[in-house]
Symmetry: C2
Subunit: 144 residues, 2 copies
Amino acid sequence: MFSKACEYGIKATIFIAIKSYEGVRVSPKEIAKEIDSPEAFTAKILQALVRHDVISSLKGAYGGFEIAKDRIPLVKLADIVNAIDGDAIYNGCGLGLHKCSETHPCPVHDKFKAIREGLKDMLERTSLEELALDIKSGASFLKV
Amino acid sequence: MFSKACEYGIKATIFIAIKSYEGVRVSPKEIAKEIDSPEAFTAKILQALVRHDVISSLKGAYGGFEIAKDRIPLVKLADIVNAIDGDAIYNGCGLGLHKCSETHPCPVHDKFKAIREGLKDMLERTSLEELALDIKSGASFLKV
DNA sequence: TTTAATTCGGATATTTTTATCCTTTTTATT
DNA sequence: AATAAAAAGGATAAAAATATCCGAATTAAA
Ligand code: FES
Ligand code: FES
């Protein structure tokens, strides 16, 4: 469903949010350990998230990745997915036709569209805040 | 969402069904042309579909791929997807945890599960018959 | 029985995704 | 100003997905 890059990106962002609540920045090394991902690859994904303004970074000594506390409730899963996988998940045809279209639909268009809209809704409704709170409360987990 | 292989597999099976209604077998070349896919790669996918008993084939002169008419209403989209992509789409964790689990859920488990069940339902409910009839009636298209 | 047509299966090539490494740039501290 | 710590970015490597090629096996017809 999501690419590996996207999976790592979501988990990394959640971890960064949790640490940002505590006011501390985190390194790719710390993130990779916490979410059980390859460090260098994770660092690349963090760069993309910074470029897309999902998270922010500070270079140099005492630097690291963070996210402003007041942005945590505003960031949606869709923002993370979009930054990494783009919007193919929303606009693409389920059977790979050049373009998903009502007037020239593929055989699964109607049924696929319903699923896709559900997914889109879910991604746009789910905030980073709720995901982070569930991890903090022990209701969900980032690895294993 | 689906792999390229799976997309080709679905479209190929629909085309084979249509031709099987007319009682004629089709070759990978004809299929690839009709669904706009790479011929040799499509042939490999057809082999997988034969192995999984989704379609059947006859070697040699006047051979080709076909599907028994009375099987067309019984074959579901899920059978095709399963033959090619396996069941990761049903059992896998949306964030790549080793196993999707109620007792050790990832941050998106609840929300992802709902989408996934919807997809599973759709795949298990949608028959090859209805897909093929929509193509025949011109309500949907296999390429462009 | 020969021939031509056709799927099957293995080997190989290309492209994309995933992953690693190393140098440069930036920054806070000393 | 010098130093050390850290992200940024480019180059490269490995793995997986996609795609191609070709000989072997099978089949129906002539
Ligand atoms: S045309 Fe294929 S999903 Fe809309
Ligand atoms: S644990 Fe991740 S989807 Fe169920």
